[in-house]
Symmetry: C2
């Protein structure tokens, strides 16, 4: 069993980015909009700010009251869309219930959509057109790439079909010539599929739902789950029971979760370059 | 073995549409742009015109010289985008090589994109937002629906990953709670997957690549292939060798191929209603 170490891949990506950014004509600009006072959001925005500072990006955190109206929020997004010094715009999710989140995500200029969650960027990814892609699945592809694990012709089984991870990852895997199966809460006989996987990706947010008896020897396991129980982090995969069967596995913490902010950094630079063309 | 008869489903859809169209304030309008003199395109455009006339749609066939420039073609599309009497615009594929087809498809107003091939409509489908969807996969869903075959929880295996059929069908199946596997030319041990399918959809365009030994008893088979050999039509599935094993099958001809033009008719009406809102 070999650990796929997200920290190492993250460090390499950030180091490369930092070097590249030093040679740019101007600082790439990232704006993060936060609505309300969600404590988890505070932490996530903080991590993004730290990354931006580390890379030498211009960073702006716009913190808005939780009772802002849809129209006011839209006005702010439109202003940032037309601000030439800003390359990436991200609206921290979740938004308050009175805000139409889908509309907000699709209002962001698709060339500044560094979360890759707009319809048009999802469609480009589906159509295998290079675009800004969601950070977490892109992080998975980069981990596999770092460890020289090719997905071509592999049987990739993805458990979870979120817009954030499962669906975009399925497109990325397909674009890289994997055979892809998407399983979810309505799947019958889940273990039938997980046992057939060459690469098993689990992204459902339920602690330890994949156990050793559900996988075959030599499986590569990517655990996207981050489940906090009594202050400790657990993945969706029961590490102890699978560890003697897997060939490679991403740990929790220290695996996929490490990648998200580094991928955001990559997307900001990609957006910068796209806008320069 | 029961035949899933595309002709019956098509007739029902067209009859419903015709009735609904009679009660509209104005005629829904469909424009088909054809570039060059491809003989297959002539036939396809003719089928669309026939459908439009049958339903009482306003139909316009714009036939352009094969040496039209990208800029001229774009200008015509923009004019139709802003023509308030037109609800659906379709550019017959394939386009001559000097034309950027992807750019053309994405230039069509997404609310008039009755082929459902634009990035934004593909992304909406991925995100399970109701939108204009590609006709052939939508036709498959409607055939299954007509015969009361639910896909929820079923193991759906799709062979072929085109933007036109395989990928949008995977999204439709997933949105309807099927477990979905996408196989293609790089898939190893294809029969391993086809044998596990509750519903097997084959859309690769190779005569008879699926044979009886590759499927399990009771499989529902949807054959999207239309392969013309010596003037006769064949599917991607070897009908003779599978017919005693399948529970249901779409024949070729008379199956999925029947649906495409009827689904275009549905999309034009859907676009009409969307634009009215």
């Amino acid at each position: 069993m070999k650990i796929l170490d997200g920290k190492i891949v993250k460090a390499q990506i950030l180091a490369k980015l930092k070097e590249e950014v030093q040679n740019l004509e101007r600082m790439p600009g990232l704006v993060v909009i936060q609505v309300g006072n969600d404590s988890a959001s505070e932490i996530y925005v903080g991590q993004k700010e730290k990354m931006a500072n580390q890379l030498g990006y211009k960073f702006k955190h716009i913190k808005l009251s939780g009772d802002i109206s849809q129209a006011e929020l839209e006005k702010i997004i439109k202003e940032i869309n037309s601000d030439q010094s800003i390359d990436g715009l991200l609206v921290q999710m979740p938004l308050p219930k009175h805000i139409d989140s889908k509309k907000i995500q699709n209002l962001i200029d698709c060339d500044k959509d560094v979360d890759g969650l707009s319809d048009v960027n999802a469609g480009k990814l589906t159509h295998n057109v290079d675009t800004l892609m969601p950070c977490t699945p892109k992080g998975i592809m980069d981990i596999l790439d770092y460890y020289s694990i090719s997905v071509e012709g592999k049987n990739v089984v993805i458990v979870g079909r979120s817009d954030l991870v499962g669906k975009p990852l399925a497109s990325m895997m397909l674009n890289n010539n994997a055979t892809v199966t998407i399983c979810h809460s309505k799947t019958k006989n889940l273990e039938l599929f997980t046992k057939m996987a060459d690469i098993l990706v689990v992204a459902v947010g339920k602690k330890g739902i994949i156990t050793g008896n559900m996988i075959s020897d030599g499986t590569i396991v990517i655990d996207v789950g981050i489940n906090r129980v009594d202050g400790k982090l657990y993945g969706d995969v029961d590490f102890e029971s699978v560890k003697d069967k897997v060939s490679f596995i991403t740990p929790v913490p220290g695996g996929v979760g490490q990648m998200t902010v580094a991928e955001l950094g990559q997307n900001v630079l990609k957006a910068y370059k796209k806008r320069k063309i």
